[in-house]
């Protein structure tokens, strides 16, 4: 599903440059539960941003679903992000003026899914992440863990091929972290959604199928920990 070939990312200004990613070659298959691990400054987030099409590599090629990402316009990139990728951010990034249900519906509405269908799907997704009874609450009325669950619901409600989560457990306590990981593993196993995390949290790493270790912008180790279940299918996402 994802193929990165000789990806480099250099941040430069007039005075200095920083080679953040160096010659990254990476393939991620449908249904993988992958963690990109590494210390701060190793390039995890930058790699995730490139995979999520939020940033462009300085050079190298990136193919998503067998298509060359560099050829896409900004609107096309936005369309792919909306239709095929779900994002879970470290700081939840929910819309404060929308309820949990409306936050979950938002992306589907921008995708043009009709009102009845998107509402039903949003309710089912919120129930799937255990927040059915909190659907009418605004983010400020939810705990950090609950907000992150809403963010997960928002990410998966539109039936994406891939969910990218940048340190999703960084702001959560142990209980909320375990609960969120259980949820994500469950979604991966039952619905076949591909997950790519960036994290250096050992609790996240121990649940992963695959751990890609980054250091100084290079892949230093690619560990395959578990086999991907062949029974997974995105069609299992609530519809």
């Amino acid at each position: 599903m994802i193929t990165l070939n000789k990806i480099n990312k250099v941040f430069a200004d007039k005075h200095q440059s920083f080679h953040c990613l160096k010659e990254i070659d990476l393939t991620v298959k449908q249904g993988e539960f992958t963690v990109i691990a590494g210390p701060s400054g190793s390039g995890k987030s930058t790699l995730l941003n490139i995979i999520g099409m939020l940033d462009q590599p300085t050079n190298g090629t990136y193919q998503f679903d067998n298509k060359e990402v560099a050829k896409f316009s900004n609107n096309k990139l936005a369309d792919i992000r909306r239709e095929k990728i779900g994002f879970v951010f470290q700081a939840y990034n929910l819309m404060p003026v929308l309820t949990a249900l409306e936050n979950t519906e938002m992306i589907m509405e921008f995708s043009g899914i009709d009102k009845k269908q998107r509402k039903q799907r949003a309710i089912e997704t919120l129930e799937a992440v255990g927040l059915g009874e909190f659907k009418d609450r605004f983010p400020a009325q939810l705990s950090g863990g609950q907000q992150q669950r809403v963010a997960v619901a928002r990410a998966i409600a539109a039936k994406p091929l891939l969910v990218i989560a940048d340190e999703p457990t960084a702001n959560l306590d142990s209980r909320a972290t375990e609960s969120l990981l259980d949820l994500m593993v469950s979604l991966n196993q039952k619905q076949g959604i591909t997950f790519i995390f960036s994290s250096h949290d050992p609790r996240v790493i121990e649940r992963a199928h695959r751990v890609i270790h980054l250091q100084d912008g290079k892949v230093i180790r690619d560990e395959q920990l578990q086999h991907i279940s062949s029974t997974h299918s995105p069609a299992a996402i609530p519809s």
Binding site: S45, L48, N49, G52, L54, D55, N74, N75, A78, D79, I80, R81, R82, E83, I85, F87, F89, Q90, A91, N93, M95, P96, V97, L98, E102, E105, M106, I107, E109, F110, S111, R154, D166
Partner: protein, 418 residues
């Protein structure tokens, strides 16, 4: 969803939205109110002006404006009036003959303008010597012409002139003028039928009216007049059209609107209208700055939300639409409220009138016209609609750049902020 986002974002900072709204409501309602009062004031000025011996449209000899002598009079005015009324039956026509003359009473003499008028018609159209202006005696129409007072015709004169001449109603005065033939001066005696007061110095001190036929006889210009004044109930726009039409049909005479005949009055109205336009400009700036301030503050504080929306796959146009909608809702709400308040004020002044004398303690004169003590608000629907539309479009224009900028943020910032 984008409508919900826009509305809730406005309500998110109630104080800021309310403050902006209050400013717009106040400014716009004041603009509507002053627009009505200003147009009402102009109408009063024009109405009074055209009734002070002028007319909405003035017909004169081609050369009269360059040389206003008795050699340049309209001959057989009734024939011309008939032809004009065949073309425009809605117009009311009044013939007048004016000449500079000397009025004497005892040892006093004053140079003035004598206006020969048709009393029965004049009393309906003129504000100089009508029933309301006459302070003592009678109007010329009420005065029994050539029946009493030793067969002398009546004359109405201004109050100041009467004081200067030391005459009262029933006294005799002599008018001396140079006849059209250029021969020796002609004289005629008149009985003071009435004394009028318009409040205008020029008229009250240097103006008198006598029957038209008497003045024609005195000057030796039978069936000739200086001008035919046409009165209309049309709007200024259609009046200009009528003037042009008449000028095309009757090109042997000069037909001009009151604006040309009374440039001082026109200047006063124009200057006052310019003041109104300045006020409108201030309102537009207030609305634009108010909306821009709210939108800028709002978008500045919500950078992260916009980048997050773009990161999640919202198109830039969707984010821009949300920002534009916020401005549209804020301005639509404020303008509606401002319009309602302004119309309420307009309704009050349109029905009760604004008593200028009560408010300012004195009557006001503008462009040689004494404004009535009370005048009424008048709103031009098309002008008001255009103002509302303009303010609304202005809102969109000032919001456009912040809206576009909000939609073109890098999605990367969503993760960087995190």
């Amino acid at each position: 969803m984008i409508h919900k986002l826009a509305l809730r974002n406005l309500l998110r900072n109630k104080r800021r939205s309310c403050l902006t709204s209050v400013i717009i409501v106040f400014a716009f309602s004041m603009m509507v109110l002053f627009m009505g009062l200003s147009d009402g004031g102009h109408k009063a000025m024009i109405d009074i002006g055209v009734r002070m011996g002028l007319g909405h449209i003035i017909v004169q000899h081609k050369s009269f404006s360059d040389d206003p002598s008795l050699q340049h009079l309209i001959v057989q005015p009734n024939q011309l009036i008939q032809q004009i009324r065949q073309n425009k039956p809605e117009l009311t026509a009044v013939s007048r003959l004016r000449v500079d003359a000397l009025i004497q009473a005892g040892r006093h003499g004053v140079a003035l303008t004598i206006s020969g008028v048709e009393p029965a018609k004049e009393v309906k159209m003129s504000a100089i010597a009508d029933q309301r202006a006459i302070t003592k005696g009678k109007t010329l129409a009420e005065f029994p012409q050539s029946k009493t007072f030793h067969h002398l015709d009546g004359i109405v004169i201004g109050e100041t002139l009467a004081n200067n001449l030391e005459v009262r109603v029933g006294d005799t005065v002599t008018i001396t003028a140079k006849p059209a033939s250029g021969a020796d001066l002609s004289r005629a005696a008149f009985v003071v039928a009435g004394i009028f007061k318009t409040g205008l110095h020029e008229l009250d001190t240097f103006w008198a009216e006598v029957p038209l036929h008497t003045l024609q006889a005195l000057l030796g210009v039978p069936d000739q007049v200086s001008q035919i004044s046409l009165y209309s109930l049309e709007t200024p726009e259609s009046l200009a059209h009528t003037t042009t039409q008449l000028q095309t049909s009757f090109n042997h005479v000069n037909i001009s609107p009151w604006q040309t005949a009374a440039p001082e009055l026109y200047s006063a109205v124009t200057l006052d209208a310019a003041g109104m336009y300045l006020l409108m400009l201030i309102v537009y700036v207030v609305v634009a700055v108010g909306i821009l301030n709210t939108v800028l503050m709002s978008t500045f504080k919500r950078k992260k939300e916009f980048t997050m929306m773009i990161a999640l796959g919202s198109r830039p146009s969707t984010v821009s639409k949300i920002v534009l909608l916020e401005a549209v809702y804020l301005s639509a709400f404020s303008l509606t409220l401002g319009l309602a308040l302004g119309l309420w004020g307009h309704h009050h002044f349109a029905t009760q009138g604004l008593d200028f004398k009560e408010v300012f303690g004195t009557a006001m004169e503008a462009g040689g016209v004494l404004l009535p003590d009370k005048f009424y608000s008048i709103l031009d629907a098309s002008k008001l609609s255009l103002s509302v539309l303009f303010v609304f479009l202005l809102t969109l224009v000032v919001t456009l750049i912040p809206a576009i900028r909000a939609g073109h943020r890098s999605p990367l910032a969503a993760t960087q902020d995190a």
